[in-house]
């Protein structure tokens, strides 16, 4: 009986901790938004973070996009030709990428590359007393360190997802048209006719924006809240990648359910 009570109490304690931590993270998010003014007045701070989070993620995003598109081209052709519809390869590649794979895979890669880097950087800044030094210099670290990184990453994410999709479509074109010999005119014209700007492209952009906010808030909060030790920073970095990935997949289901119902 004692063991049951102890385990129920332990479970309750863990749940309370998780809810409390989510509350602190939400407060942190609101503070970040409220302290964003100085970042926009000194836009070069955000530009620097767009470089760190966005430009430095380009290689992994572009290469992954190319290969995902090439695989889609191969798999799509294999399936479509069974039904004699290989001309529709362009539609399959474009819709898969723009609606789903572009935002989701780019966000997962972004969480691993840029999210982990943000957590490690801010965690180390705290461990080496840089955050405290900033506070002692009467400079608010949320405004000076957190907000520029937030906006830099949030602006970068939809752009990276768009580049991922564009690269993927090019990969599908290389495999489908150049290598296998699908008709080039059909590939592009069917894609153009079937892909809708609002329902497909803008929804995809909106998804990647939401994923960008989620990944960046998680990465910033984990770094800012990390215990100032090597182990603390390492655990926070791992938590960023795991929590962000789960958040992306969960949010993707919710957003997809609202966006594409009845289609």
């Amino acid at each position: 009986m004692e063991a049951v009570i102890r385990s129920v109490r332990g479970l309750g304690h863990r749940i309370v901790n998780v809810v409390q931590r989510m509350g602190v993270a939400a407060r942190f998010f609101v503070l970040t938004l409220l302290h964003s003014g100085p970042s926009f007045r000194r836009f070069q701070l955000i530009l620097h973070e767009i470089y760190s989070a966005g430009v430095l993620s380009l290689i992994i995003i572009l290469v992954s996009g190319l290969f995902v598109g090439m695989v889609l081209g191969l798999q799509g052709y294999e399936t479509l030709q069974t039904y004699g519809s290989s001309d529709a390869l362009g539609i399959l590649v474009a819709l898969s990428l723009v609606r789903e794979l572009g935002p989701v895979v780019a966000a997962l890669l972004f969480a691993s590359r840029a999210g982990s880097a943000i957590t490690a950087e801010i965690g180390l800044m705290r461990a080496t007393e840089q955050i405290e030094a900033m506070e002692m210099m009467a400079v608010d670290p949320i405004a000076r360190v957190v907000a520029p990184r937030f906006w830099g990453a949030v602006i970068s994410m939809p752009l990276l997802a768009a580049l991922f999709s564009a690269m993927g479509i090019f990969g599908g074109y290389l495999v489908g048209v150049v290598m296998i010999g699908v008709d080039e005119g059909s590939f592009w014209s069917q894609m153009q006719a079937a892909v809708d700007v609002k329902n497909d492209i803008l929804n995809g952009v909106f998804k990647s924006f939401v994923f960008g906010v989620a990944v960046t808030v998680i990465a910033l909060f984990e770094g800012y809240d990390a215990p100032p030790t090597a182990e603390g920073v390492s655990r926070a970095t791992t938590r960023t990648v795991v929590t962000s990935s789960l958040a992306i997949l969960g949010l993707d289901f919710i957003l997809t359910a609202f966006m594409f119902r009845g289609v």
Binding site: Q130, E132, A133, E135, M137, A138, V139
Partner: protein, 266 residues
Amino acid sequence: MSDNLIEIRDLSFAYGERMVLKGINLTARRGQVIAIMGNSGCGKTTLLRLIGGALKPTSGSVQVDGIDVGALDQDGLYKLRRRMGMLFQFGALFTDLSVYENVAFQLREHTDLPEEMIRDLVLMKLNAVGLRGAHALMPSELSGGMARRVALARSIALDPMLIMYDEPFAGLDPISLGVTGELIRRLTDSLGMTSIVVTHDVQESLKIVDYVYFVSDGVVEAQGTAADIKASVLPFVHQFVHGEADGPVPFHYPAPPYRADLGLNA
């Protein structure tokens, strides 16, 4: 204007249930270099954080330039901190900024000075610590002593009235040790500041300080000028100044009897 820049009265502070400071009284006159000494974990750094407003007192008061630090809100605290500087134990330089940008940081954040004036001020501050030639280096290219001196230049960028030093001598070679001590004294005198040095380096700090407070177990155990401290016969101060391994501060952490731990009682 009072002669005293800092007045601490009956200051107590606890981390949760654990009392760290128990009724500290301390005064720092303008233009003085004050040392707060004591063994590791005695509450010295906590005291600095209370003066800087990073922590709020459990009871008692900390007044800096007549302002009750514990009663300030964030805006008031930030306003006061613009007139304070703090040197962290390992410098806490911003690792993504060059030496020049580190020193220029507060000037850029708190003033609208033109770039030419910022450049002149940064080079003057770096010259004061002997590192004008290192302005283009990154923090990762500096030795421990150089990083401490750059941090010192950064903390005097806005000509503060008070500088707090957290273990400025820790981990330095003998030359850097002497240079750092001499810089603290010289900058205090030439810029008309007040300095509070938290340290356990007795020999180096006694050369430069005007007054010393010895803290042990959360209370001020002894105080006086460097000469008073050297001549003190109080057991704790004597052990500390002469670096004796055993005394009022025991060599062994509290533990059960040795024989009992080794199972030799039977």
